[in-house]
Amino acid sequence: MADKLWFLIPEIWLFVGVVVVSVMGLSRRKMFRDLLPLVVCVFLVGAFIITPLLYSEQRISAAGLLMPMLGKYVKMLVCAIGVILTMLSVGLIDRDLEASMSAGRTRFDPIRVNRGEYFSFFMLSIIGVMLVCNANDLIWLFLALELTSLPTYIMVAISRPSRKAQEAAVKYFFLGAMSAAMFLYGFALLYGATGEIELTKLRDVFAAQAAAGGLNRVAIVGLILTVMGISFKMAVVPMHFYAADVYEGAASPVTAFLAFVPKTAGAVALILILSTVGWSGHYGNGAHGLPREILTALWIMAVLTMTLGNIGALLQRSAKRMLAYSSIAHSGYILIGLIAGPPHGLNAVLFYLLAYGVMNTAAFAVLASFERKGEEIESLADLAGLRHRYPVMAVAMALAAGSLIGFPPLLGFAGKLYLFIAGVDAGHIALIVIAGVNSAISAFYYLWLVGLPILAQSTPQSETVVARPVVWPRVAAIVTAIGVVILPLFAQSLLKASQAVTVERETTALDVTVAPDQPEQPTSP
C-alpha cells in the first residue's frame, strides 16, 4: 500500500496546487488572479520533476501494478503538455469581467470570478489522467476516468460566455454520462466473469480461462462494453458523435485540452484493460493478438474511425471542426497500436500520444492566438494570408498541419511510422493499407491549413483578424512548432522512453499459463 502511495506523490502535489489555485482565484488583488497560470505551471513543472524520482526499481516491483512504468512516461508527458495548455488558457476566462473590473465599472465579486475554479478543474482533470496510470483495480480506474471527464464538462461550459459553449457542455456531459454507464456495466460484467476487480488478478483469471479453451462469454461482452465505453474519451467511431460539436463549441484552449487530456486517459485505460486479456492469443496455436471478438471489434472501430474522421474533415469550413474530425482520425491511428499490442504497438501509442499532443496543440494554439471583434476565430477563411501580418504564426500552423499529415521529417511522421511498423509487424497489413489511404486523404484538408496561411492572399474578412492582446498563446504556438521540428531529432531517445513502459510486462503477462493454484477452472462446453 505504502509503495503505491509513493507513486501518488505527484498527484497529491498537484492537488495541493488545486487548493492553492482555487483560493488564489478568490483574491481581491488582480495581481494574484493574474498569477494563476504561473502557479499552475509551477505545480505542473514540480510534478514533472518529482515523477521520475519516484520510480525506483524496488518500489516498482513492490507496487504490483499491471504496467508500472506507464505512469512515469504518461505523467511526465501530461505535465509537459499541460504547461503548454496552460499557456493557451491565459486570459481566456473572465476576460470581459476582468476588463470591466480594472476599468472600475464593476466591483470585485468573488462569486463572479471563475478563473481560479477554471484552473482547478484544469489541474483536477490532469490529476485524473495521472491517476489512470496508477490504476490497479476497476474501482480506481472508474474513479480516475470520472475525475478526468467531470471537470472537462464544466470547463467547456464556462470556457466562453456563449450559448455554443453551453450547448457543447450539454452534449458532452450527457453523452459522457451515457458512455460512463456503458463502461460501468462492462466493469460489472468483467467482475462477474472473474470475481476479481484487481487488474493483475483479472489478468491471471483470464489467462486461466484462455488456457482452458477461451474467455467466458460474460468476459467478452464485458470487455466490448468496457472498451467501447472508454473509447468515448478518445472519440472513436461509433462513440465519436459528440466530438465535432463539442470541439467547435468550446473555446480553442479548452478544445486543445479536450483533444489531448481525455484522449490520453482513454488510451491509457484501454491499454490497461486490454492488457488484462493480453495479446498472447487465446485462439489457435501460436497465434498472436487479442481474443478474436475483441480484435474484430477494435478492427471495425479503427477502420471506421480513420475513414469517417478523415472524410468528415473534408467538408468542413471551420478550422476547429476540421481539427475535431482530424482528432477522430488520429484516434483511429492510435487504435492500430492498441491492436498491434506490446511491445511495439503500445510503445508506438505512447509515442504517438506525445507527437499528437505537441502537433495538435500547436494547431490549436495558433487558433487561440487570434480573435476578431473579441470573438475567437473559427473558420478557415480567417486564416487566409496570415503570412502577411503574422508570418511566424503562419509557419507554425503550416508546421503543425504538415506534422499532422505525417510529413517527413516532422514529428508526426516519426509517430506514424512507428505505429505503422508496429501494425505491420503484428501482421495487420490490410489495416495499415487502409491507414495509408486515409493518411493520403488527410493531406487534402491539412494542406488547406498549410496553404491558406502561407500561400493565399488576405481577404477583407481575414484582414480583421488580429492577435489577442495576451502573448502566451503565441508563445505556446511557437514552442510547439519548434517542438514539431526539433523533437524528431530526439525520436530515438523519446522512443526509448516510451519503450521502457512495456518492457516489464512482456516477460510476465504474456507467458502466464495456467497457474497450479488457481482456485477455479472454468469448464468449457
Binding site: 470581459d96 464556462i158 462469454r217 477455479e520
Partner: protein, 328 residues
C-alpha cells in the same frame, strides 16, 4: 437451441412492440391495448418463471420475493421512461431504487440496501425533485397542468426501442449462454478460508472471537501483544477447526463457529478502509470537484449585462490598438 431463441425473441418482440406503443404518442385506446399486450407478455414470462407460486417449500420463498421485487423494478422503470410528467418519472425512479434495495437484501447485502435507500432515494432523488419543482410549469387557466410538448412526444421512439432491443438481445444471449452455463460458482471452502483470513487481519477481531469461544484464552492473547494469527484452517463436518494459533510462539487448537466469520457489513467496511482507502480519498476529491462545479455552474451571472459588454468591447479595442504594434 434455435427454437428457444425464437421463443424468447417472440416474447421480447411483443414486449418491445408494446413498449414502443406506450412510448409513442397516440390514442388512449391504443395505449390501453398496448398495456394489455405488454402485461400479457410479462405475465407469460412470470408464468414461465414461477410455475410454483404458492409452493410450500420455504426455500422457494426468496424466489417469489425476487420476482415481486424485480417485477416492480422493471415495471416502474418502464413507467418512468414513459410517463409524461417528470415528477412522476422521478417518483417511479424512487420505486426502482426501493425495489432494487429489496433485491440487495435478498443478495445478503444489507448495508448496501440501506445505503442505497438513504443516498439515492433520500438524497439524490430529492435533489432531482427540487430542480424539477424549480422548473415546474405554472398551472394553466383551468387549473390543470399541461405537460409541455417535449415531455409528451418522444424523440426517436422507433430507433430507441430498436437499439434497446439489440442491446437486450446481446445481454440476454450473454446471460443464457454465459452466465447460466459458463460461470461456475467458486468452491465455498475457498471463499470461507478467505473470510477467515479477513477476520485475522481485522485488528483485535480474531482475539475477540477466540475469547468468546474460550474465555481462558484471554490471558494467552494479551491485547497489547502481537495479534493472533491462524497457522492452519481446516474444514471438517461443517465446523471450522482453527489453529494452531500462532502468537508468542504458542499454538492452540480451537474450533470457531460459523457465526464468528466476519459479517457482510464488516467485510465491506474492511475492504473499504483496508483495500481501497486511496479510492475513498479519490471519491472525496470527486465530490469536492462536483461541489466546485455546481457552484460555478449555478451562479447567476455567468454572462455580463449588455452595457457591461459594450464597455468591455471598447476596452478591448483600445488594448488591442496598444498591443498591435508588433507581431508574434
Amino acid at each position: 437451441m434455435a427454437s428457444s431463441i425464437f421463443y424468447l425473441a417472440c416474447v421480447l418482440g411483443i414486449a418491445t412492440a408494446a413498449l414502443y406503443l406506450l412510448v409513442r404518442p397516440g390514442a388512449r385506446a391504443l395505449k390501453l391495448g398496448a398495456t394489455v399486450v405488454g402485461l400479457g407478455a410479462l405475465g407469460w414470462l412470470v408464468q414461465q418463471f414461477v410455475g410454483m407460486l404458492g409452493g410450500d417449500d420455504p426455500s422457494d420463498r426468496p424466489g417469489v420475493i425476487f420476482f415481486i421485487f424485480s417485477l416492480i423494478a422493471v415495471a416502474s422503470a418502464v413507467r418512468m421512461i414513459t410517463h409524461s410528467r417528470p415528477i412522476y418519472s422521478a417518483l417511479y425512479f424512487v420505486m426502482v431504487v426501493l425495489s432494487s434495495a429489496g433485491l440487495f437484501l435478498l443478495l445478503e447485502a444489507e448495508f448496501m440496501a440501506f445505503a442505497l435507500i438513504i443516498v439515492y432515494a433520500g438524497a439524490i432523488l430529492i435533489t432531482y425533485l427540487f430542480v424539477l419543482m424549480l422548473a415546474q410549469q405554472a398551472p394553466g387557466e383551468d387549473g390543470t397542468v399541461q405537460s409541455p410538448e417535449y415531455d409528451r412526444i418522444p424523440r426517436e421512439p422507433a430507433a430507441g426501442v430498436a437499439v434497446g432491443f439489440v442491446m437486450l438481445a446481446l445481454l440476454s444471449e450473454m446471460i443464457f449462454s454465459g452466465v447460466s452455463t459458463e460461470l461456475t460458482e467458486p468452491p465455498v471452502a475457498a471463499a470461507e478460508v478467505a473470510a477467515w483470513r479477513e477476520l485475522e487481519q481485522m485488528p483485535g477481531q480474531l482475539r475477540r472471537e477466540l475469547i468468546r469461544v474460550d474465555p481462558d484464552l484471554e490471558e494467552s492473547f494479551p491485547a497489547d501483544q502481537t495479534p493472533a494469527k491462524f497457522s492452519r484452517i481446516d474444514e471438517q463436518g461443517g465446523i471450522f477447526t482453527v489453529g494452531p494459533l500462532g502468537s508468542s510462539g504458542q499454538t492452540y487448537e480451537v474450533s470457531l463457529p460459523h457465526s464468528a466469520m466476519p459479517q457482510n457489513i464488516q467485510r465491506v467496511g474492511w475492504a473499504l478502509v483496508h483495500q481501497y482507502p486511496a479510492s475513498l480519498e479519490l471519491a472525496g476529491v470527486i465530490l469536492l470537484m462536483a461541489m466546485f462545479g455546481a457552484v460555478v455552474l449555478a451562479q447567476r451571472q455567468i454572462e455580463l449585462s449588455d452595457d457591461e459588454k459594450l464597455e468591455a468591447a471598447r476596452a478591448h479595442q483600445s488594448a488591442r490598438d496598444a498591443a498591435n504594434g508588433g507581431d508574434a
